[in-house]
Amino acid sequence: MEILYLMIPLGVVLVAAAGAALIWAVRDGQYDDLDGVARRMPDD
């Protein structure tokens, strides 16, 4: 069970990375318009 002393901090690091990636993606505007891209396709 000693491995948990490694796995739990590792889990925290991964969550932090996932959270940071999510916040970056949202602030970058990647979720602003989810269906516009599909609709614009026929115009291109």
């Binding site: 002393y5 901090p9 925290v12 996932a18 949202v26 979720y31 602003d32």
Partner: protein
């Protein structure tokens, strides 16, 4: 293509300056530009180099492809900056400085980020909390237990303080305004749960509530987000209208095309609209075979074909393959688009009276919960301080009156969003309550059941005619007399105008027009009943007289709307009594009523007569919806329980109506009462659910049966249920 510098100079003009840049203090102006083609840091560096001599401050955001600039208008100009960017090889874009729109977008992004963090943290905290439930039995070693507890704290901190921050902000704001709303118990319970747990981690013992707190934030912000989205459905329409606004247009002049600010355009200017561009003002189309997307204005998704002479509305898109020319007719605030925007803005500000009552109840309820939580803690304290805290938390969390506050606005928002997509704008939200009870629908004739524009069906020469008087000449004389007027009858003659000179025109309300054409006295007006009836009973007779003697009679007929029959049938199917009130003569009114399937008909009604009839219906307990064009039947509309206008042209904002039919169709109207009934039912259901849930859960929480995490789950699911119920509207088609 003209030179680039000439294109940009339009943005330096005083009319446009304030809509693209703002004063930033020290005499500097600030502007936000979009820059296409900028992908990397070295691009940004070359733009910065190009702008350095011209701008006081340059802030480039490569990811957003924007540049925020400050410049001194005495030494530099926006057009010089734009030219410099273009010379550096990039394409600048000028945005309208719509601060509120940008703010909304930022807020929406932040909200989504908070929800994401809330979900991540709540899942992790719950996993870590699980082994510590009943730790005596599981026999976890002390160092491991400490690690689990400290990690929970670490993960719960962003989950509560970042993701849950809006709840604290709202609670603080309402307390400062000396109000208590539902965010106060939420913030108090989050603060207690987080604070007590943190203190217990430091102290090294006792039950932790991090799992409850993070789950509460996660579920609650999820419900709020759904709520916001459904409100967005209603305001999204408005948003898209605002986004369609343009700042410049291409004017066709003697010296070629020039780019001008919208404010510079005058009536009768000719504008060129390139493929893919939006029409900037209301105007008349000069080219044939134009293809336009008018979805913004009417909800009609398919492109429509328009021909020369058709009216184009600002905000429609030229989706054809070629540029089209438009003669400007209505500008700025007079455009249809500007008026729809004004109406929707007005509607968005209104809070129905019943909603104000609900908000007050929710406020009192929140205060009550705070008191009950304190009471619970006080009662439990002598028995077990540990349990007292847990029970008080459960009370705070479980009985938050979120569902009560959400019930009304959500159902309203979802309903008016659905109606807007069908082509019915709700100008006054309070009307939805009365709309649900409508049992009688009164139609006006011209412009609602029929198309607005009658056509000359037949011309018949009368006794006063001499040799040499032809039908075509009579039509030309009539057209000359009607030339300066814009009412539907006058427009019917416009096609026959041969530009005969006309003088001494007099118009007498209700009696017609008199004047001299080629120095002969003519008059034109309604049939005075001296002649034999027209062959077509649905037509309206207009008589042209020369020196007082009848010369010709024109049969005018406004064709019935194609969808009038279906609309009337659908309304009757819903149990509505459909009536036709008109100022027209009996015969044409009856023919129309038969054609569209209306039994109850009153012809030759004065405006006062219509209103009296309406009052009589209301006196016998009927709830009446009146449908008119919004101008000619203003008294009737003002008196009706629900006033529905089908305004034509520029009269939208003046139309004193509760509902506005913006598409050129009656069908959406038939969906409105049914939808309003559904909305009312949803609101009642939601309120009933909220009250029943609280009545059930409060004793359990006070009795200590309900643990805080169960309370958080129950309360959030209850809110979610209310949200989903409000959104569960039938898919009505217009």
């Amino acid at each position: 293509m003209t030179s680039a510098a000439a294109d940009w100079s339009v943005y330096d003009r005083p009319e446009l300056r304030d809509s693209v840049s703002a004063m930033a203090g020290d005499g500097l102006r600030e502007v936000l530009l979009g820059i296409d083609g900028m992908h990397c840091a070295s691009c940004a560096a070359s733009i910065e180099r190009a702008l350095a001599p011209l701008a006081a401050q340059v802030q480039i955001d490569v990811a957003a492809r924007t540049a925020q600039l400050r410049f001194d208008p005495r030494q530099s100009s926006l057009s010089a900056l734009l030219g410099a960017i273009e010379a550096a090889g990039f394409k600048p874009r000028v945005f309208a400085q719509d601060a509120s729109l940008n703010r909304d977008r930022r807020a929406a992004r932040e909200e989504l980020a908070r929800i994401g963090v809330a979900v991540l943290c709540a899942m992790q905290v719950m996993m870590l909390a699980w082994p510590t439930y009943g730790r005596e039995a599981s026999g976890i070693m002390a160092p491991m237990l400490a690690l689990l507890r400290w990690t929970q704290w670490l993960l719960a901190t962003p989950g509560v303080l970042y993701a849950g921050w809006p709840f604290f902000v709202h609670a603080a704001r309402s307390l400062r305004a000396r109000r208590v709303d539902m965010d106060v118990p939420i913030a108090v319970s989050l603060a207690i749960a987080y604070g007590v747990s943190a203190w217990r981690v430091l102290a090294g013992g006792g039950e932790l509530y991090f799992d409850s707190a993070t789950m509460f934030v996660m579920l609650l912000s999820g419900a709020r987000w759904l709520e916001g989205r459904s409100r967005g459905v209603a305001t999204g329409h408005l948003r898209r209208l605002l986004g369609a606004r343009k700042l410049t247009a291409t004017r066709v002049g003697a010296a070629g095309d020039e780019t001008v600010a919208l404010a510079q355009i005058a009536r009768d200017d000719i504008l060129r609209i390139a493929p893919g561009e939006a029409v900037p003002v209301d105007g008349r189309l000069l080219d044939d075979d134009a293809e336009l997307d008018e979805a913004l204005l009417s909800g009609e998704a398919r492109p429509v074909q328009r021909h020369a002479g058709a009216t184009l509305l600002a905000g429609s898109l030229n989706v054809g393959a070629t540029a089209i020319r438009v003669r400007a007719e209505a500008l700025g605030h007079d455009t249809w688009l500007a008026q729809i925007t004004a109406v929707l803005n007005r509607a968005a500000r209104e809070r129905p009276p019943f909603q104000q009552t609900l908000d007050r109840i929710a406020g009192v309820f929140s205060l009550l919960i705070l008191g009950l939580a304190a009471l619970t803690a006080a009662l439990w304290w002598p028995l077990s301080p540990e349990h007292a805290l847990s029970a008080a938390l459960a009370v705070l969390v479980a009985s938050c009156p979120c569902a009560l506050s959400l019930a009304g606005p959500l159902a309203f928002a979802a309903g008016s969003g659905r109606l807007a997509r069908l082509g019915v704008l709700v100008a006054r939200p309070r009307v939805l309550g009365r709309l649900a009870a409508v049992d009688t629908v009164i139609f006006d004739k011209t412009g609602t059941l029929t198309r607005m524009q009658p056509v000359v069906e037949d011309t018949e020469l009368l006794g006063g005619a001499r040799a040499g008087d032809s039908a075509a000449r009579c039509l030309a004389i009539a057209a000359a007399l009607e030339r300066p007027f814009t009412h539907p009858i006058a427009l019917a003659f416009r096609a026959y105008d041969r530009q005969l000179p006309v003088a001494a025109l007099h118009s007498v309300a209700g009696r017609g027009i008199s004047g001299r054409v080629e120095d002969v006295a003519y008059s034109i007006g309604a049939d005075d009943g001296m002649l034999a009836p027209l062959a077509d009973p649905a037509a309206t007779a207009i008589v042209l007289r020369r020196d007082g003697r009848p010369l010709a009679r024109f049969a005018l007929r406004a064709p019935a709307r194609e969808d009038a029959v279906a609309a009337v049938a659908a309304l009757r199917e819903q149990g509505c009594d459909v009536q036709l009130l008109t100022g027209d003569a009996e015969a044409p009114a009856r023919a129309l009523a038969q054609a569209v399937g209306i039994d109850h008909l009153r012809a030759r009604m004065s405006p006062q007569g219509k209103l009296a009839h309406l009052r009589q219906l209301q006196g016998t307990g009927h709830v009446v919806m009146a449908v008119g064009d919004g101008i000619n039947d203003a008294p009737l509309l003002a008196g009706a329980d629900v006033a529905c206008a089908m305004p034509q042209g520029a009269a939208l904002a003046q139309a004193q109506a509760d509902l506005l039919l913006v598409g050129d169709s009656l069908r959406p109207l038939t969906a409105a009462p049914a939808l309003a009934r559904v909305i009312r039912r949803r609101i009642v259901q939601n309120i009933a659910w909220a009250l029943a849930y609280n009545a059930f859960v409060l004793p359990l929480a006070m009795g200590g049966v309900l643990l805080p995490w169960m309370a958080a789950l129950g309360m959030s699911l209850s809110s979610l249920l209310v949200v989903l119920n409000a959104l569960r509207l039938p898919r009505v088609e217009g």
